[in-house]
């Protein structure tokens, strides 16, 4: 029932990934790529880092599915709020 019997992930490897992704993010800013590309890649990289933290450091990868549902619940709502209000301001 508890701390599922699984092999502990390689935390140092995850740390390395996070460090590299951060460097890449900052590099993208300094290389002054086209705006759209910059934004898309930065968002993508940030989400990747966030997922690594959530799945491995916070152990979501190894938790029962039901807990995942609890955790995922706010995400669609957050998206709806921001998208709907943005749309409200910017127009059709």
């Amino acid at each position: 029932m508890e701390a599922a019997e699984h092999k502990a992930p390689n935390y140092i490897a995850i740390w390395g990934m996070l460090a590299i992704l951060t460097v890449v993010e900052v590099a993208i800013v300094y290389f002054r790529l086209p705006r759209r590309l910059t934004v898309v890649s930065l968002v993508f990289l940030a989400l990747w880092k966030a997922l690594l933290v959530a799945l491995y450091f916070m152990h979501l990868r190894f938790e029962p599915k039901r807990l995942l549902y609890i955790v995922l619940a706010p995400l669609p709502l957050a998206l709806i709020l921001v998208v709907a209000v943005m749309h409200g301001f910017r127009g059709p």
Partner: protein, 577 residues
């Protein structure tokens, strides 16, 4: 010592000090009762503020009785000043919603009932629970204090729209609005701590055999409400903090001068505000379900559809918020999506209503005080829900938004709905809480008076609204087109006062029964719930030994049984455990 023996010993020797037992208690039952006294007090405060509103609307410009006691800046010559009137409507809404109805439905019934009804000894986090109650004290205190500060209390409506609320110069209210914001942030924290407890407790602490689909609907409703709170209240907290910063440290979130967006306040507020109204009604629905099944001696018709309907209402409740903003000048395409979702949300609510009716159909109905109040809940909620359908339609709402039609709707669902359910719940669980019975006779008198005066007060507001009377206005008689409606305002005011006076019957019954009420037995309502298998009031720790649940929650009038109810703990052989 075995766990059982230890448990029994613990229940028998409750050697907590007076302070630990009655003041800083971690026992969910004590906390529930503390919430009860706190919220009834604020119900009184909200009610008195309403009397002030009604006086001014019924008799504009005339000195209020006892008005001479108020400071001249607030009521010159005993006459409510316009700015004071704005404060009255704001604070009436604020106190009623945040400090009366929410704590009554959630603070009282979630705390008191959940552990008992799921067979747990207490909440998952009893100390956090204690904090949840005690945070209401500074929160309520700050809100009350705001009534007395220089510049007066918040006067921007309970929805405190920016920029009126964000810019002190516009409203003349400085500290009052800031205190409002601070109070609400603390309230939010209290609400969140409570919700974490309710959710975790229902998820993890159910007794053996208490599967999800054996939970009483009151527990389902309170659980879903807690989920709504977890997701919606933080948005309010964020928005109110931004508002507070606009007022104090010069930020520009909602002030248009350098690019702030007043409309964003409305979006954020109502993104919270709509789930909030479901927080205000779902527990009432759950309580009513339990009481109606009990009073009709029949299982709830369509139990699982009741559950799914509540889940649907909760989910849909997050995507309808724009219907509060149809007149704001919002994007029309966005508005139409909200119109669709709002009309859709009527469906699960209707399913619930039909299920209550189905439960009553051919039931063996006992018209006890709780049952009468629960029946009033259903019928008044139907009326409130029907007026809601008008509002869902954007073109219609263009006309009725901001009028007394909305005020009628609000009060039909909040008073007609939530408050009658609260009364039902109090009358029903009072014996369990206090070990005494309330007077049935005076309960029925209270019900009859309340029901009559309530309808006479609020139904005519539909007419006022269609006639064009706006909300929150100080003096309807300055408008030519409203002067013919003034007799209705007078009629409403008189009935409102009588409604207020009728509550004295409840107060007397409640307080008197604490001391003089007949001692209650373990299960005076012959109910199937787990809380009725233990003493009235239950001991610290609730159950001498862990209950085991064998049945669904509403086994009433089971064919072939001697008795017309089957407690959930009765083993399948049918013999007593």
């Amino acid at each position: 010592m075995t766990a059982h023996a230890e448990a029994v010993a613990h229940a028998a020797h409750d050697d907590r000090s007076f302070i630990r037992k009655y003041v800083f208690s971690t026992d969910h039952k004590t906390i529930g009762i503390q919430f009860l006294f706190l919220s009834l007090f604020f119900l009184l405060v909200g009610g008195l503020l309403a009397m002030g509103i009604r006086w001014q609307l019924g008799f504009p410009g005339q000195a209020m009785p006892l008005g001479g006691w108020l400071p001249q800046s607030v009521a010159p010559g005993g006459v409510v000043a316009p700015k004071t009137y704005n404060s009255l409507v704001t604070m009436h809404g604020t106190f009623m919603i945040f400090f009366a109805v929410m704590p009554l439905l959630v603070g009282v019934f979630a705390n008191y009932l959940i552990p008992l009804k799921i067979g747990a000894p207490d909440m998952a986090f009893p100390r956090l629970n204690m904090w949840s109650f005690w945070l209401m004290i500074p929160s309520g205190g700050l809100m009350l204090a705001s009534l007395f500060v220089l510049g007066g209390s918040s006067a921007a409506g309970w929805t405190v729209y920016a920029p009126l609320s964000a810019t002190p110069d516009y409203s003349g209210v400085h500290l009052g609005q800031q205190l409002w914001c601070l109070s609400i942030v603390i309230f939010g924290l209290s609400s969140l701590l409570g919700s974490v407890n309710y959710i975790t407790t229902v998820v993890n602490l159910r007794a053996p055999g208490m599967t999800w689909f054996r939970l009483p609907l009151s527990v389902w409703a309170l659980f879903i409400t807690a989920v709504l709170a977890i997701l919606a209240v933080p948005i309010l907290a964020g928005a109110v903090i931004m508002l507070l910063f606009d007022q104090t440290i010069g930020t520009h979130f909602f002030q248009p001068d350098v690019g702030g967006q007043p409309l964003m306040w409305q979006h954020l507020f109502w993104f919270f505000g709509h789930p909030e109204v479901y927080i205000l009604i779902l527990p009432a629905m759950g309580i009513a379900s339990d009481i109606i099944a009990n009073g009709a001696r029949k299982p709830i018709f369509g139990y699982s559809s009741m559950v799914y309907a509540m889940i649907a209402i909760a989910f849909l409740g997050f995507v309808v918020w724009g219907h509060h903003m149809f007149q704001s000048g919002m994007n029309p395409t966005l508005a139409s999506t909200f119109m669709v979702s709002t009309i859709v949300i009527a469906v699960p609510s209707a399913i619930k209503v039909f299920n209550w009716l189905g439960t009553l159909w051919r039931g063996n109905i006992h018209f006890t005080t709780p049952m009468l109040n629960a029946l009033a809940f259903v019928s008044m909620f139907i009326i409130g829900g029907l007026s809601g359908i008008f509002m869902a339609s954007t073109p219609v709402d263009m006309y009725i938004h901001g009028t007394y039609f909305i005020v009628a709707h609000i009060h039909y669902v909040l008073f007609g709905g939530s408050l009658f359910a609260v009364f039902a719940g109090i009358y029903f669980w009072y014996p369990k809480m206090f070990g005494r019975q309330m007077s049935e006779r005076w309960g029925k008198v209270h019900f009859a008076l309340t029901f009559v005066f309530y309808n006479l007060t609020f139904f005519p507001m539909h007419i006022l609204g269609i006639g064009g009377e706006m909300r929150r206005i100080y003096d309807p008689t300055v408008y030519d087109f409203l002067r013919p409606l003034q007799p209705i305002n007078v009629f409403i005011t008189i009935n409102a006062f009588l409604l207020g006076l009728s509550q004295l019957v409840f107060a007397a019954n409640f307080i008197g029964s604490l001391f003089k009420g007949e001692k209650a037995e373990r299960n005076p309502w012959r109910d199937t719930g787990l809380e009725w298998t233990t003493a009235s009031p239950p001991p610290h720790g609730n159950f001498a030994e862990t209950p085991h649940v064998y049945h669904g929650p509403y086994e009433y009038s089971v064919p072939g049984m001697d008795d017309d109810f089957l407690p959930v703990t009765t083993p399948p052989t049918g013999r007593a455990a």
